[in-house]
């Protein structure tokens, strides 16, 4: 597959680079965010494209992609779910919530861990990631589906109902 960057995506990327008049390299994170939002994950071709765009070596991009948990090298599901595993949420039942979300989406709970952060449901519709504190501990347990935050989640259906 050869990589095609739609013109409007490239325009967004070019605009974000202008935010860093001192050093183009500073635009690595925003450029990757734009690319990941569009392509859902960062393949090696995308990484090479980003490197060329920013006049860097691909390793400079790859080391960033592998460092930050927010960047993915594997395709997530259509709806990516992030469940908070940290203390206040765990105390409010987020580990049980994760298990229940896995069960209802057909994801094997054992496949979700810190070392293998993203597990995708067999139908490709959902993926689940166990993440650290989402800074909403007062309304624990919380999770995000794509960009939407769900607070005080009592059961998995509350979260999933609008996506099934």
């Amino acid at each position: 597959m050869s990589l095609e960057i739609p013109p409007d995506l490239e325009a967004l990327i070019d605009e974000s680079i202008t935010h860093y008049p001192v050093s183009k390299r500073s635009a690595v994170l925003p450029v990757l965010h734009h690319l990941q939002t569009h392509f859902r994950y960062l393949s090696s071709e995308i990484i090479e494209w980003a490197a060329a765009k920013l006049e860097l070596e691909p390793i400079h991009i790859l080391e960033v992609v592998t460092f930050y948990p927010g960047f993915r090298q594997e395709a997530p599901g259509k709806f990516h779910i992030r469940v908070c595993r940290t203390l206040s949420c765990a105390m409010a039942g987020s580990h049980e919530l994760l298990a229940s979300l896995c069960e209802k989406t057909g994801i094997d709970r054992k496949n979700v861990s810190h070392h293998h952060p993203i597990a995708v449901s067999p139908d490709g519709k959902f993926s689940i990631e166990f993440v650290e504190c989402l800074a909403s501990c007062g309304s624990a347990p919380v999770c995000m589906v794509e960009d939407d935050l769900y607070e005080r989640v009592k059961d998995a259906d509350e979260v999933l109902k609008s996506y099934f």
Binding site: H19, Y20, P21, V22, S23, R25, S26, A27, V28, L29, P30, L32, H33, L54, H60, E63, V64, F67, Y68, P69, G70, F71, R82, R85, T86, L87, S88, A90, M91, H114, V131, E132, C133, L134, A135, S136, C137, G138, S139, A140, M144, D147, L149
Partner: protein, 465 residues
């Protein structure tokens, strides 16, 4: 000013003192600049632009504003660290990474009152001679990033940003920079590396104190969202007047974020030091859950040392020294430090008697093991060891000697690392062991002593030695 009403169910507690959170959950409020302007936004900017920049810094110094991001360092003093006679550009970064577990205050400012932050930032940039500033927003706040970007565009349109702001001759651009899910980006030098497009590997201090050598190796001021918002209010009433709220050396208001085992968790803006931990838990948060008693409190984000419910603390010095219980600890920087912990980021995590300490500590250690950036061996390996030992503790595979081992690992990290993450990850373990040793030992199994966990014994048993 018109009466403020709050959304039903979100009314501030009677003992709150809302300054920064004045507009949070407010009826009829939105994030548009028109709403903000009708409420008097950017008036303090107008005032600041008529002053000498140094005079603005003086007001912040007089206010005694201490950083709300974690360390509690006086903001005005930090601004004064920009080297005299500096000829390089100076940058300012607003730390909106909000990643310390237990902390959830900047979230509401960013989502509900972006113009308050922008006004505070523009004034701060004017005071420190900054013409390019960034707001580093964690990736998990995608809506906040959109809201703040829109606010920046609106402020531009009205002439509060860009070239020659309000005809003062002062130029400033502010951009949003989004993180990508790593806790260490909250550490200011890690944040700077991240903003340079690299892995967020913190830099060693000295020499890399941001105020002297920060972004692009130029002087850089890094302040928390809440800290920068306060600057606007300091200008409004003057530093001395502002310092009358709160208590001596612990001035102003701050937002406490309470989570865990209380009836009504949430955010509460209080005058620093004017309320005790007991008042926060019992009055503001509705007390403990039915039938439950307090076991412990982590008072300033997960990195702060835990306080045990039945401890006696000594606060004050000399003739003022007195012994108090956990309930009577005033919620301010100095009192919490005197109690052996810290006010940190304002994240108060309440733990009741239904909780297992091993489980709590294991959860915390999992966090730090995941979030160590990996540059320093003691932190990278130590945080993983602490996770593994507590993993054993919660699965019934630990032996009694694992507890001193855990303690030793923690103490081998502190003070031997590039950044304060070393302390952040070792303090919880050190404090939990110090205060709950019996319970932790109770979760170990003496019959496992030397069986699986001690590599030397294992080697000996296998006849390898």
């Amino acid at each position: 000013m018109s009466e403020i009403t709050y959304k039903s169910g979100y009314e501030p507690h009677a003992r709150e003192h809302r300054v920064i959170f004045r507009n949070v959950d407010r009826v009829g409020w939105d994030t548009s600049i028109d709403t903000a302007l009708a409420d008097g936004a950017y008036e303090q900017l107008r005032k600041a632009l008529t002053m000498e920049p140094a005079a603005v810094t003086d007001e912040v110094k007089k206010a005694g504003l201490r950083g709300r991001g974690g360390a509690g360092f006086p903001a005005g003093v930090k601004w004064g660290f920009i080297p005299k006679g500096n000829t390089k550009p100076v940058y300012l970064i607003c730390n909106a990474d909000e990643s310390e577990p237990g902390t959830f205050k900047d979230r509401y400012i960013l989502h509900q009152d972006p113009h308050q932050l922008l006004e505070g930032m523009i004034i701060s940039c004017f005071a420190t001679g900054v013409h390019l500033a960034y707001i580093y927003i964690r990736e998990e706040f995608p809506m906040a990033a959109k809201i703040v970007e829109k606010a920046i565009a609106e402020a531009h349109e009205k002439g509060f940003l860009g070239k020659n702001i309000l005809d003062s001759g002062f130029d400033l651009e502010i951009y949003v920079h989004r993180g990508a899910g790593a806790y260490i980006c909250g550490e200011e030098t890690g944040l700077i590396e991240s903003l340079e497009g690299k892995r967020a590997y913190p830099r060693i201090k000295p020499p890399y104190f941001p105020a002297a050598m920060g972004l692009y190796l130029c002087p850089t001021i890094v302040n928390n969202v809440e800290t920068l918002c306060h600057v606007k209010h300091i200008l409004e009433i003057g530093g001395e007047e502002w310092a009358k709220t709160g208590t001596k050396n612990n001035t102003g208001t701050r937002i406490l974020c309470v989570s865990g085992d209380v009836q009504k968790p949430g955010y509460f803006e209080i005058e620093v030091g004017k309320l005790t931990l007991g008042e926060v838990i019992n009055d503001m948060c509705g007390g403990m859950k039915p039938g439950r008693t307090l076991k412990a409190v982590i008072p300033g984000g997960s990195s702060s040392k835990v306080l045990r419910a039945d401890e006696t603390f000594t606060i004050g010095r000399g003739d003022d020294a007195k012994q108090i219980s956990i309930w009577d600890i005033p919620m301010d920087f100095d009192s919490l430090a005197a109690c052996g912990s810290m006010a940190g980021s304002g994240g108060v995590i309440v733990i009741d008697d239904s909780r297992s300490i091993s489980w709590i500590l294991n959860n915390i250690n999992n966090f730090y093991a995941h979030e160590s950036c990996g540059q320093c061996t003691p932190c990278r390996e130590g945080s993983l060891w602490m996770k593994k030992i507590t993993d054993r503790l919660v699965t019934g595979q630990a032996s009694p000697s694992d507890i001193p081992r855990l303690d030793k690992v923690a103490r081998s990290i502190e003070g031997r690392t590039i950044c304060a993450f070393g302390e952040a990850c070792s303090w919880p373990t050190e404090a939990f062991i110090e205060k709950f040793r019996d319970e932790l030992v109770g979760d170990t199994r003496p019959e496992l002593e030397g069986a699986v966990v001690n590599p030397e014994t294992r080697i000996a048993n296998a006849g390898l030695k």
